[in-house]
Amino acid sequence: MRFGVVVFPGTWSDRDCGHVVRDVLGADLVYLWHKDRDLRGADCVILPGGFSYGDYLRAGAIARFSPVMETVAEFAARGGLVWGICNGFQVLCEAGLLPGALVRNDCLEFRCEWTHLRCEREATPFTGCLGRGQVVRVPIAHGEGNYVADPATLDALERRGQVVFRYCDAAGTTTRVANPNGSHANIAGIVNERGNVLGMMPHPERCAEAELGGTDGLLLFRSVLEAAAGAVRA
């Protein structure tokens, strides 16, 4: 099982994702430079957090035009696993691989804190180790994580069960207070229709070891490891 971690100029979660993949999960790791088109045999491509190209213009708006994203789009179209975390989620939305957009947090401030997420769908390659309704604790760190989409898109997302994570309280209730950024319907993560592309604002790679405050993030990495056995290879 090999994870490919994409590095844009301005990406910074590449090292954290790489650390979890290689040192915690014990899987193969390749870094994929934004100027390259080769995914180097990755079973799952991670678009990590950061400020790709400085996020000037709009978060993720320039990264979508990089050469590597062409190949990532082809890979996704063939059913390959693509996982956007934080800035990676923003890039996936800008690239049209996921619907909707991420706009400025409604508090108008950057937020770095622990959140609770309720797993809404366990039948994805990213959440196989979770149960439906299971609450996990995962931190966020973003200024633009407020998920928005037009009503028809939101309706379709809900109907097709594409919402994978919602912000909630420790008991699993999706309250206004538990929503850190104003996202519509407390949405924290969604998949595409086919279910092979996940975008999420919280950072599972920051909670894969007990000494960092929690290990729930590892459940997502393990899920991918198990799912990849039967998945498409780059």
């Binding site: 954290d16 190209y53 401030e109 770095c112 760190a141 200024g143 920051r206």
Partner: protein
């Protein structure tokens, strides 16, 4: 000496005195031209030359077995074992932040990051020490600075893991923004910014050079007056994305053969970077301003040499190597231009194409500024406290602790640190909000503990004792997480030293730092001096030495947190509580008084208390530890309750004969910790306290959701939490 016409107006522009000008003429044996005068002006500014503080700084201890690099380089470095060096430095960006809070703070962070990068180290953490005038009036400064620190650090992907924020009248027109950066590098890969031998090439890498920040260093060496707004162009604009690319490129460059040195361009721009890296090798340099990529047209050599445009690095490479290094710059889309070379004549020669525009001895630039011996006159400070005038202690002490924890100086800092990414890097083992942050060191069991502390009010009351307390508190914060203090970086924020009272404060504070650092065994390996912190609004600031300190845990699994960890644990206080209230937050908030004396400090007792906590932590005898600081014993205990999410029930606090109850609860006696321990550990803990000769007093037990001292205090935790969490909102 022949009479020389001194153009006062021109000298004011470069912030030189007539005496200094005459010194230059004598040393050069001619008058300097305009470019030369500008270059000398910035390098002879207080900010660059430390001409006022240099004789005082020599009093600081700078050596120790772990010191790999002391003051004089871009940053200091300590050996932390297992092949690692920690590189760190603190720097002020006070004046730019006063005028343009967001960019002032952002570029302060950018500058201190480059200092650490220049040592070949990867930055792993930022800390910030911030001081503003009171809220709500100073909210613009407060919000802008916090946004600026976060805006730069978050974009760079460097976690901001610790810091402090205080509000006091004296900072209303002149806020203090001190940023500290900590980096890690394999000890054998530590870089030094020495230009090396003749023929080495000078590469300017990163941003193009513009007119921004000209005279920034000189501006930092003047008071803020009504004309300060006009100096807005002297504040630079940050581009953290470019700096992130610069960081990654430097990390790839540093270990390559052929790379001689990396030097940050900060205050005084090219002039300082070239002169200082040449000076460290006893070399000279020749450079051509025409080769410097510009972002504006029509810039003069004077402007190019003095520009403080951000996100630039000087990389010194062996001749013939630039082609093979070009791939690194190309990978990160960075512009890199050869702008000159190292020479062996000890001269800094600046050309503009075929024309020579400056020719100055390097030594005159970097070391030539005459030391200024200023007059010192003791400042009596505010009067001593008259206890009789104060009346009896308030009847409702619970209401007092509510008010204290709900005040801006004691409230929860979460509204600040949740705006900083403090987790990126997957290394933050103890996050902000406790006594000190702890980071893990890759591939080891080591924990690196970080803190930054100052107390302007104590220093106002007594700069000698106050500065010692700043050092002692930093060490105590480290001990509270179970870390042994290793070394210091200091930022000396003071008013105009030409006032004899201010110079006296500076002298006394430096002496205080020196004494405390010697007693606690922590050398000062880097630092920064920021003088002329005065404004029409707030007058001269309180003398505010800020201490950044690094500590080490051999095994980070033995780390301690500040919050009570389990119900039914014993709650104890380590150290002696004296009948004193001088300089306390209680006195200010409840009685509206700033009066002395500053708390008494016994450095031997400090050391003993720290050793006790360290030994108890290593033996696994403690469940939590928290420094007793502003707000005194009751505030510290309430914080441990809030952080641990459980209350505490204690016996009535007894005072010595004639002692005041408010002094016992809210006085700020030094050398104390609130700790908790499993009941089974009490005997061993008492024994250990006896061995270290430290007072250890059992207060009560953890549990419930109230903070209770029988018959004296009874406050609900939810009520406390609300006041504490909303204090800064």
């Amino acid at each position: 000496m022949s009479p020389i016409a001194v153009d006062e107006r021109k000298l004011r522009e470069v912030a030189l005195t007539a005496d200094e000008y005459l010194e230059i003429v004598e040393r050069l044996d001619r008058e300097p031209n305009e470019v030369e005068l500008g270059m000398l002006g910035v390098l002879w500014s207080e900010h660059c030359s430390y001409k006022t503080s240099r004789p005082l700084l020599r009093r600081l201890p700078t050596e120790g077995p772990r010191v790999l690099q002391g003051p004089g380089e871009n940053a200091g470095a300590l050996d932390i074992g297992e092949g690692w060096a920690v590189v760190f430095k603190v720097e002020s960006h006070n004046h730019p932040s006063a005028i343009e809070p967001y960019q002032g703070a952002a570029t302060g962070v950018g500058g201190i990051l480059r200092d650490v990068i220049a040592m070949g180290a990867r930055p792993v953490a930022l800390l910030d020490s911030l001081r503003f005038g009171p809220l709500p009036r100073s909210r613009r400064h407060f919000e802008g600075v916090v946004a600026g620190v976060g805006g730069y650090g978050n974009c760079m992907g460097i976690p901001t893991v610790g810091g402090e924020v205080y509000f006091e009248d004296c900072y209303a027109g002149n806020p203090l923004v001190n940023a500290m950066c900590v980096g890690l590098v394999r000890a054998d890969r530590l870089q030094r910014a020495r230009a090396g031998g003749a023929g080495n090439l000078l590469l300017l890498v990163g941003a193009q050079t513009g007119r921004d920040g000209i005279h920034g260093a000189s501006f930092a060496s003047l008071e803020l007056d009504g004309a300060a707004e006009e100096r807005r162009p002297a504040v630079q604009v940050g581009n953290p994305f470019l700096e992130k690319c610069l960081l990654e490129a430097c990390m790839e460059l540093a270990p390559r053969p052929g790379v001689v040195a990396i030097q940050d361009l900060g205050a005084a721009g090219l002039t300082s970077a070239v002169a200082e890296s040449a000076a460290r090798s006893g070399a000279g340099a020749r450079l051509d301003v025409a080769a410097v990529p510009r972002r504006e047209r029509g810039m003069t050599p004077y402007e190019v040499m003095l520009s403080e445009s951000q996100e630039r690095m000087l990389v010194v490479v062996e001749p013939g190597r630039q082609a093979e290094l070009a791939e690194v710059f190309a990978k990160w889309d960075l512009e890199a231009s050869v702008i000159g070379e190292v020479t062996d004549d000890g001269l800094l020669v600046v050309a503009d194409g075929d024309d020579e525009v400056a020719r100055l001895p390097v030594e005159l630039l970097t070391d030539g500024a005459p030391v200024r011996l200023l007059e010192a006159r003791p400042d009596p400070g505010p009067p001593e406290l008259d206890l009789d005038r104060l009346g009896p202690a308030p009847a409702d002490l619970g209401a007092v602790v509510l008010r204290l924890l709900g005040s801006p100086n004691l409230g929860s800092r979460r509204p600040v640190f949740r705006r900083y990414d403090h987790m990126v890097g997957d290394a933050t083992v103890v996050p902000p909000g406790g006594d000190a942050a702890v980071l893990r060191v890759p591939g080891s069991r080591l924990g690196l503990a970080l803190t930054i502390d100052g107390n302007g009010r104590y220093c106002r009351l007594d700069p000698f004792v106050g500065a010692q307390i700043a050092v002692a508190e930093a060490a105590r914060n480290l001990a509270a997480v179970g870390a042994r203090p290793l070394g210091v970086t200091d930022c000396l924020n003071f008013g105009n030293p030409e006032r004899p009272e201010v110079y006296w404060q500076l002298q006394r504070a430096v002496d205080g730092i020196a004494v405390a650092c010697r007693a606690l065994g922590v050398p000062v390996v880097s630092g920064n001096v920021s003088l002329y912190n005065e404004s029409e609004l707030g007058g001269s600031i309180d003398p505010t030495p800020v201490i950044g300190m690094i500590g080490l845990l051999p095994d980070r699994d033995r780390r301690l947190a500040a919050g009570f960890a389990a119900d039914g644990d014993a709650v104890l206080v380590v150290g002696k509580t004296c009948n004193e209230m001088g300089g306390s937050e209680y006195l200010k908030v409840v009685h509206g008084e700033v009066a002395g004396p500053a708390p008494a400090l016994d450095l031997a007792a400090e050391r003993a208390a720290n050793e006790l906590v360290l030994a108890a932590a290593a033996d696994g005898l403690l469940r939590s530890a928290h420094d007793v600081a502003e707000g005194g014993l009751l505030a510290a205990l309430a914080e441990s309750c809030l952080l641990g999410g459980r209350g505490a029930r204690c016996d009535a606090l007894r005072t010595d004969q004639g002692g005041r109850l408010d002094a016992a609860f809210f006085g700020e006696s030094q050398g104390r910790f609130v700790v908790s321990a499993a009941p089974a550990a009490l005997t061993a803990l008492r024994q250990l306290a006896g061995v270290h000769d430290v007072e250890l007093t059992l207060l009560g037990r953890t549990g419930g959701d109230r903070v209770v001292f029988e018959g004296q205090v009874d406050v609900g935790l939810p009520e406390l939490r609300k006041a504490w969490e909303e204090a800064l909102l």
